[in-house]
């Protein structure tokens, strides 16, 4: 039944150019049950790490077409060639830095949102411009995949980057220090506060340490344009490399 739906989709999205979006729709129909909704793996292996990240587009397409003998990975002999390409392109995009992806959004509109209505720049920095305490985004296009960026925009609390968790430390002397925990363990915590002061604290001087499990960032309702903008952020433009 799932396979039938997959064919219907394949026919409807047939395009000349490989499409990550079309591939994603196919993936959600045919692959996510084993490889996880975001490629993280469940019954099947992760597509985000290990061998998956080193396979060429062609090698991924071959596996989709012919399956993996002796494993649970089936073959898809009747899937139209463009659909295989779209699916492989999507799988590739799971580990491809966002800067290499072709995206449907408008980066100019995304930039306008980032610096304007979205007020993203008040919490994030790009090339020295912007605010705190969010992660620096100067190189985000080469450090993250499209999938990771999309998730961060749509559901900021899904994964909070190490070093960016909101923290409140109450010292035994009565002082409270609130900010972002750059690191913490049973013995010490390193917090940058609102004024940009770094507090290197010994846990034995603390009465309590509270770490938030929710991001301070609001979700972005329509992230495609800002995604396209972020997918261009690199301190080394491709022309330099």
């Amino acid at each position: 039944m799932r396979l039938l739906g997959l064919f219907a989709l394949a026919i409807s999205v047939a395009e000349a150019q490989p499409s990550i979006e079309a591939g994603r729709e196919l993936y959600m129909g045919a692959c996510s049950g084993c490889h996880g909704a975001t490629g993280e793996g469940s019954q099947g292996p992760s597509l985000l790490s290990g061998r998956a990240g080193r396979l060429s587009l062609e090698a991924i397409a071959t596996i989709i077409r012919h399956g993996v003998t002796g494993s649970s990975m089936p073959d898809f002999p009747l899937l139209p060639a463009p659909s295989v390409t779209n699916l492989a392109t999507f799988v590739r995009s799971l580990t491809t830095p966002a800067i290499s992806a072709r995206l449907p959004g408008d980066p100019v509109k995304g930039s306008a949102f980032f610096f304007g209505a979205g007020r993203c720049i008040t919490c994030h920095t790009i090339s020295g411009q912007g605010g705190y305490p969010g992660p620096d985004l100067s190189n985000i296009a080469v450090e993250r995949t499209v999938h990771q960026l999309r998730e961060s925009l749509s559901n900021p609390s899904a994964r909070i980057e190490d070093g960016y968790r909101s923290a409140t430390a109450r010292l035994k002397n009565g002082t409270t220090i609130a900010g972002v925990a750059k690191n913490h363990n049973n013995y010490s915590v390193q917090i940058i506060d609102a004024a940009g002061r770094l507090h290197l604290l010994d846990r034995r001087n603390l009465a309590a340490l509270e770490l938030a499990d929710q991001s301070m960032m609001p979700p972005v309702a329509n992230p495609e344009d800002v995604l396209a903008f972020l997918a261009r952020q690199s301190t080394r433009p491709p022309s330099q490399q």
Binding site: T122, C123, T125, S127, G128, G131, Y132, P133, D136, S138, N139, V142, E143, G163, S166, T168, A178, G179, V180, K182, N183, N185, Y187, S188, Q190, I192, A194, A195, G196, R197, L198, L200, R204, A212, Q214, M216, S234, T235, R236, Q240, Q241
Partner: protein
């Protein structure tokens, strides 16, 4: 939470600023340049660790940098944070416990050369990638401010340098002595990375000094600038050492002295204009880069107060120069194994023994290609008047070839072979800084592979790596060993020392880790 969000939306404005004056007064609680200060003395004013208590040093923490294989960094420490660098990456640590505060990887950087360190100025830290980009980062957050190329990796340039931050520039250099690039020192603007000046270490055609190369192309001349120079703010002068001419071991195509290879350059800090130079090894055919640290000191020399520059050179001589004029004052061997010259004339020019010019059949030469010393950092303690230098007693067989050299091909005019029956032996030697006379030495038995250097402290203790993989503490006056700790691996970096919350620490990078030590403290709670 809402209140927190509002209060956090403020720019980082109040980070303490590192000033050139602070760097000039370092090292004290902080360690602010590769060599600790502008004069490259590696002498710290800290005195908590003394000959009386050094035997109670214990490990305080170890930080492992995943993926690192041979850290060669001298960490920078400022205001509670330690900064370390590796090839194309940098990390900030809580210097009391080694906990990571941020990590920056130079995405897209090419090249795999090691990295020896970084520079700090204002609220920024700076490091150079293997493909010769200077990167500036906010020192508290690791946020990049610029990533600017200063030499072409495609043209063969690469670097391992720890930049030097002075009042108006971040000074950088390049490798290339073994691969045929043209060396230079450049000053890049601290705010933008834009080049302010550049001094080419091989003169262009028709420029003064070009007559010392015959028709050899300047573009292939080498004379690289791969170690960190020194700086005298009062004289507004940068002192930068240069490396060998290329090809390393065959000089037939480059007749003449090959200026400014194997030299010290005195450059105007504002313009990069050459004030003077002194060449240690004219027409080098033994690969004796002069990239050893240039140590600046003021002293009464032969009855006269003088501003001096001293260096224990790879060619086996300890040199004393006047750093105002460049005048050669004195030199004498600091190794016993030295046979390439019958001595120096009164201008410091060596009288080379012709039979020590390498031949295709192989020529035994002392010191070895690695040199009597090398980039392992020496230290100078003004209280003892001693200069502490890791020294290698070794000879090599050097083989030369007149083959047509091709840059970046791996060809160096061929190379050297060790002599199996005469393995190299390392010593830490203490020299009288004003004469070069040996006052004591500490043998460092081992496999002959170390590149570790030293740090001196006002507490009267010298720290050094040894050839067997130990961090050792020695009495600065006598050389008596006070303490050692086996790191379980060979050492390729120089230690540093710093103080936080009243505790003096000593750190050294080794393979993938930074080890940090302090005096044992009984538990207080």
């Amino acid at each position: 939470m809402k209140q927190l969000l509002v209060t956090l939306l403020l720019p980082l404005t109040c980070a303490a600023q590192v000033t050139p004056a602070a760097i000039a007064n370092s090292p004290n609680a902080d360690w602010l340049t590769y060599n600790g200060d502008y004069a490259s003395t590696r002498h710290s004013s800290l005195r908590q660790i003394t000959p009386a208590n050094a035997n109670s040093l214990v490990p305080r923490w170890v930080y492992r940098l995943e993926g690192a294989k041979r850290l060669q960094v001298s960490p920078i420490v400022y205001d509670g944070l330690m900064y370390i660098s590796n090839t194309n990456e940098m990390v900030a640590l809580d210097a009391r416990n080694g906990r990571k505060v941020w990590h920056y990887r130079a995405q897209g950087a090419q090249g795999a050369r090691v990295n020896r360190g970084l520079a700090i100025l204002g609220d920024r830290v700076y490091f150079a990638t293997a493909d010769c980009h200077l990167i500036a980062l906010n020192r508290l957050t690791g946020s990049p401010l610029f990533d600017v190329p200063y030499a072409s990796f495609a043209a063969g340039y690469t670097t391992s340098i720890a930049p030097l931050a002075i009042k108006n520039g971040i000074l950088v250099g390049v490798a290339g002595g073994g691969s045929g690039q043209r060396g230079f020192v450049a000053s890049l603007h601290p705010d933008t990375g834009k080049e302010t000046w550049r001094f080419w270490t091989v003169p262009g055609k028709g420029e003064p000094g070009s007559e010392t190369w015959g028709n050899f192309p300047a573009e292939m001349g080498g004379a690289p600038t791969w170690t960190t120079g020194s700086y005298d703010p009062a004289l507004n002068t940068v002192y930068w050492p240069t490396g060998n001419p290329w090809p390393d071991f065959y000089g037939g195509r480059r007749p003449g002295d090959n200026l400014y290879s194997d030299s010290v350059l005195a450059l105007d800090a504002d313009t990069g204009k050459l004030k003077w130079h002194f060449q240690f090894t004219p027409h080098d055919v033994w690969d004796w880069d002069a990239n050893e640290n240039l140590v600046l000191l003021d002293a009464t020399y032969r009855g006269k107060p003088r501003k001096l520059l001293v260096q224990a050179n790879r060619n086996g001589f300890y040199y004393i120069l006047d750093r105002v004029t460049g005048e050669f004052l004195h030199a004498q061997p600091f190794v016993a194994k030295l046979d390439w010259t019958t001595g120096l004339d009164d201008k410091g020019r060596p009288k080379v023994r012709p039979e020590k010019i390498p031949t295709p059949a192989g020529t035994k030469v002392c010191p070895s290609v690695r040199g009597a010393s090398n980039w392992m950092s020496p230290a100078y303690n003004p209280a003892t008047g001693l200069f502490y230098v890791v020294t290698l007693e070794q000879c090599d067989i050097i083989v030369a070839s007149a083959k047509e050299p091709v840059p970046a091909s791996g060809f160096r005019g061929t190379g050297n072979e060790g002599i199996p029956t005469e393995p190299g032996k390392f010593y830490l030697r203490a020299l009288d800084v004003l004469t070069g006379d040996k006052k004591w030495e500490y043998p460092m038995p081992g496999p002959g592979v170390m590149w570790a250097g030293t740090v001196s402290t006002a507490g009267g203790v010298i720290f050094s790596g040894d050839d067997d993989g130990n961090l050792v503490a020695l009495n600065a006056k006598t050389g008596k060993d006070l303490w050692h700790f086996s790191m379980g691996r060979s050492l390729f970096a120089s230690p540093v020392t710093y103080m936080i919350d009243g505790i003096q620490y000593v750190s050294i990078a080794a393979e993938s880790d930074v080890f940090t030590f302090g005096l044992f403290e009984p538990a207080t709670h």
